[in-house]
């Protein structure tokens, strides 16, 4: 019986090196997917790899991908789906070691392999698009005009089940060699994070509409 707290490792998600950095923890995977605004989706066109950024939303163990940036992929998916690899990466810090060799990054990375299918059921598509808006800005879907029938038809959504999934991360200080510890070079971590600037209202905004709390309070990580 599959574990409820971890994904089952597969040939594809079993690391060939740095095994200590890999896990299959569902909570860690969910948190990293949910925190990310965008993912990178790879697929194969005429035998060659292509990777593009896309917006995504996780709903339980399903990942929805928005169709706007991957028209080629959406057309390929129309018959019996398309094999994809979806990767989300959070760069948490630069790891500066005494040696060039041990320079690294602190990061959290989720990799999902599988066959993605076009969402054709209108109710599921409508719901998925709502989740896609809320994944970018939580609560936003209650403060917009919902999609018209024409807009729904112009939008493609892919669904991908979270089955073949791995989580890789590094944290903490540099891992310098013993011999380098006495050297005079500064070593440590430079933390990185994403922050928001002041919201920029649309120039044609109806006068008097204030920045709402779901925008003002947006934060990640």
């Amino acid at each position: 019986m599959p574990s409820t707290t971890t994904y089952a490792p597969s040939a594809r998600t079993t690391p060939t090196r740095l095994r200590e950095r890999v896990s299959y923890d569902r909570d860690a995977v969910h948190a990293a997917l949910d925190e990310a605004v965008l993912c990178h989706v790879a697929f194969v066109v005429d035998g060659a790899p292509v990777v593009l950024p896309q917006l995504h939303a996780r709903v339980g163990e399903t990942l929805y991908l928005h169709g706007s940036t991957g028209a080629r992929a959406m057309r390929q998916a129309q018959t019996d789906g398309i094999d994809v690899c979806v990767t989300v990466t959070h760069l948490d810090g630069l790891v500066l070691a005494r040696s060039a060799f041990h320079h690294s990054a602190n990061y959290r990375c989720v990799v999902v392999h599988g066959r993605a299918h076009l969402v054709t059921d209108p109710a599921e598509k409508d719901e998925a698009l709502r989740h896609l808006v809320d994944a970018v800005v939580p609560g936003r879907s209650d403060h917009v005009r919902g999609p018209s029938r024409r807009e729904l038809a112009a939008t493609a959504v892919l669904r991908l089940d979270l089955v073949d999934v791995s989580y890789k991360h590094r944290e903490g200080p540099p891992g310098d060699d013993e011999d380098d510890l006495g050297s005079p070079w500064w070593a440590g971590v430079l933390p990185l994070r994403t922050v928001t600037g002041e919201p920029v209202p649309a120039p044609d905004l109806v006068p008097g509409v204030e920045v709402p709390e779901h925008v003002r309070g947006w934060a990640r990580g």
Copy 2:
């Protein structure tokens, strides 16, 4: 004769939609590649796509990719190279429209297609690794212990020529439909950017070593 200021469009880099967002401007491509700490590299394994984050450095019209996270790719590359797609994405802001449909993101994205080759020449590899360290933290390579012969042998570097390259970006306010402009919803852009936290010295740092200027002054974008 090829233009000196733009890349030549190819079948792969000619958009099927949203043509106004695509260009081939070398300066824009170089700036976006140089600003990014990491890229996403896609390749094909047993017919299926794989995409992983990696560190990169641009030197003129060459992109160097560090081997630490893509051991499978490095093995594939050993004979006559490996077809890759390298994508760098900067998420500059969330574009919040009055309609769900016109929600978008402001971004800059470079996509490079081509065959990457292992760097085998020791001098080029040594130089490429120096560039890889400096691409993450400019000036850093003068403040570290350089790689030993053993470390050089344990590191793989791929080189990819910048030939089949496109640049896609979106900026500015939401593009709502005329009919939605009078609606009461707030619309605008929430800018995003990456910032550094306070540098965290390694716990085993030699006492008295101060945070150097190349770390203190690190900034992107």
